[in-house]
Amino acid sequence: MSVSLPRSLLLLVACAAAACAQPRDDGALAEPGCSVRVIVTLQAAPNDALVADLARVSRAQLELVRTMTSNLHLFALTAAGSESECTAAIERLRRDPRVDAVDIDQRREIQSSP
C-alpha cells in the first residue's frame, strides 16, 4: 500500500510517539530516536524471518508485540533520529508488498461532555 503522508499524519506520528505509554525493552538508543506502536495488516502470519526482513525494509527496529487477529499484528517500531524517521519507516513498511496496511496505534476517548 503506497500513500503519501499528509502533514496531519506527520503530526499524528509525533503525537502518538510522544503519548505512547507502552514500555520499551529494547534499551536506550545510541542517539535520540522515535518510537511508535503500529498495527500492521499482513498477508501472512509473521515469523522471525519476516519480522527481521520487514525491519530491514523499513530501516527501523521492529518488534512484534502480539498478534491481535488473524491478519492484524501489533509492532513496536523504533527508529534512530527524529520523529520523521518513524514516519518514513512507516511509509516504507506500507510499500512492502507483504504488508496490506500500517496504522498507528492511536488513543481513543470517550465521547461524553463535560
Binding site: 503519548a19 498478534t67 487477529t69 492484524l72 481513543r108 465521547q111
Partner: protein, 754 residues
Amino acid sequence: MRLNSFAAALLSLAVAAGALAQPPRNREDNPALREPDSAADLGDTPGMIVKFRSGTSARVQAQAAGDAVSKLAARGFAIRVARALPAGLHALKVERLPGESFAEQLARVRADSEVEFAEPDRRRFPHALPSDPLYTGQWYLQNRVDAPSAVHAEAAWDSGTGDAGVVIAIIDTGVLFDHPDLKRANLGGRILPGYDFIENAAAANDGGGRDADPTDAGDWVSQAETNQGQFKNCGRSDSSWHGTRVAGIIGALTNNSEGVAGSTWSSWILPVRALGKCGGFDSDILEAMAWAGGLHVNGVPDNPYPAKIENLSLGANGPCTAAYGSVVGQLAARGVLVVASAGNEGGPVGSPANCVGVAGVTGLRHAGTKVGFASLGPEVAIGAPGGNCVNVTGGPCLFSIDTTSNAGTTIPGSFTYTNQTNVNVGTSFSAPIVSGIVGLMAGANGNLGSAQLLARLREGATTPFPVSPDPAIPMCHVPTNQNDVQTAECNCTTSTCGAGMANAAGALAAALRPIAALSAPSTVLAGGNVNLTGAASAGACNRTISTYFWQVASGAGVLTGPNNTASTSVNAPVAGSFTVRLTVTDDLGKQDAADIVISSTSTTTAAPAAAGSNGCLADIPPPAAITVAPAPASASLVAGSGTQVFTAAVANAFSNTSVTWHVDGVAGGNATVGTISVSGVYTAPATVPSPAAVTVTATSVEDPTKSGTAQVTITAPAPAPPPPATGGGGGAGFDLLLLLSALTALSRASRRQG
C-alpha cells in the same frame, strides 16, 4: 415528528400488526403489554377501515362516502355505518352474512375490485409505561410533542421488549456490576462476565493488565498526572463511570420499580473494558471488539457470549483505519453490527464511527436539530438524542440523558443516576440509544445480519428532520475538513445527520418484515434457461412466508415459469440485461423484495441466497450460579485444643473467589462455638458446646446469597488415665502399702518381744 397523517396511520397499522403478531413467548416475556388477546379483540370489532382504489378514490373523496358505500351496497354488502376519514379512508360497519366470521367478512370486502385495502378498526390502548420511578425523566425514550427526537420506545415495547437471545457488548471503561439497576447476570441482573482488555496497568488502574474482571476501577486523571508520564496532556478529570452510564441506557433493569428504564428490557449486556485513564489504544479496542463478537484473540479465553451488537461510545479524529475496517468487516461477516458515536467536536465524523458498515450516530437536540457538540457528515447512519440543556445561563439541564452512574470522583462511591443537575450529554449517549433499538430489532428477527439491521434501522427512522422555527438557525453542512466545525445548533439534513431520527417503533416494524432471499446460477448462457429460487426466504420470529410474487421489474425479460411460487425461471437475454424482482409476503402481510439482474452471461443480486433459520433466537441462559464448597466437609476436634484448616472452593465466580467464614451463624465464631480466622483456620472452644456439633459456613464475597457448610464435632477431653504399675509392686502407691505393711509387722513383732 413530521409524518403526515396518512403515513402516521400506516405506521400505526404496521406497529399494531407487529403487536398482533407477537408469539405467546414474547407476550409472556413482556410485562408492559397491556393489550388483550388479539383474537378476542378482533372478534368484538365489527368495524373496518377501507380505502378504495385510486381510480375511484378521488371521486369518492370529492363526493364524500356516499358513492363508495352505495357501490359496495349494490354489490351485496349491507352497510350499517359509514364515515369518511382523512386521507381517503372510510370507516365502515358491514352486516355479516349468516355464520360469517369477521375475518371472512374482511376477506370478502378485500376481494372487492374497488377496495385497495381493508383493515380491522381495532381498539387501541395506551402504551405501557415501565414502573421505574425515574422513567419520567427519560424523555429520550418517550413520545413527546415537545421532544420530536425522542425515540418512541414505548410504542416499540408494546411489540417487543427485547430478547434474551441477544447480547449487546459495550466496549468502554468497564462497568460497575453492583449498581442496583444493572447487577450481574447470575444475580438476576443484565451484566454478563465480560473481560478487561486494557494492557497497560497504569491505564487500567486496577492493579494489573488484562484479566477477566471488567469492573470499572475509575479513570480519573489527577493534576499531577497531567504534568508528566503517560497521562501528560490528557487533562485532569474525575472518574467518568462512562461504561456504567452507557450500560444503563441500553439495559438498566426495567419495570423493577427502581431507577431508570433501559432501551431494551431483556437482552444481555457484555462489558468489555478497553478504555481506562485517558482513553484507550486502538490495539486494545480492536481486540476487545474482535473478542466480543466471537473472534479468537490470542491469550484470552474465547467469549462464551458472542455479541450481536457492539456499542462503541468512543473515537478520535481521522479517517477509518485499515485495522478498524478489517475488524468491522470480520464482525459483519458474523452478523455483528457495530454502533459508534460520531464525536463531540462538531466536525467531521470521528473514527470508528466513520468506517463502512458501522452505524455512526450523531447527537440530536430534543427538537430534532443537531446538538452543537455533535460531529456530523455523510458517514452518519442516523441521529438520536445526545442531550441538550436549553438553559444556557444556568438552571437545570432540561434534556439531559438520564441513566445509571456513580458519585465517586476517583474510586467508586455511592450508586447514583444522572439527571438535570448531574448532567449527562454527548454522542456517547446517542449511540447506546440506537444500540438498544437494534437490540429490539435483533430479538424480533434473529435472521437479520449486520447490513440488514443497519438498513432497517435507517428505514424505520422518523423523517424528515424538523426545521427550527428560528430563522437564525442554519442548515447543517458537510464539514470540508477537520477545522470546519459547527459547534452550534443547525438543521439536520440526510447528508449530515443520517437517514432520520432514530425511531424504536419504526425500526422494530422494519425488522419484523420478512427477508427475501434469492439465488440463481452465477453464470448463464445467452438465451438459456435460468432457474431462480426464493425458497430460502424467511419471516421474522414466528412468522412464515405465505406468498411469492415474481415480476420483471425492468428490461425486456419474460418469465418462463410461474410467478407465484417459490421458484421460477426466465430465459437469459441474448444481449443486454433485465431485472427480475421477487416479493415475498408473510402471514401478516409484511413484505420484502429482492432484485436480480440477469445478463447474457451472468446473474447479479445483492440479496442473500438464504435468509437464515434463526428468526427466533434461543434464549441465552444466565451464567451458572456461584457454588461454595468448604473442605473438609466434616471434622472432629477436642475441646480446648486442636485446630482445623478449612478451604472453600468457589465455582462460577466472575472474578472474586474469596469467602467470609461463620461458625453457627456468628461471623468469625466466638468462645462458645469456636473461632475461625479469615483464612479459614478453625479453633475449637475450650469446652464442649451444646450441641456438640457446630456448623462452619463459607459465604461467597461476590454473591453473599451463596454459601456452603461443613460440620465440626467437638468432643470432651479424654479422662486422666490410672497410675501406671512399676516392677512387681506396681508403682509408688503399692510401695507405700508394702512399707506400711512392713512397719505394722515390725511393730507387732516388737510388742511380742517386749
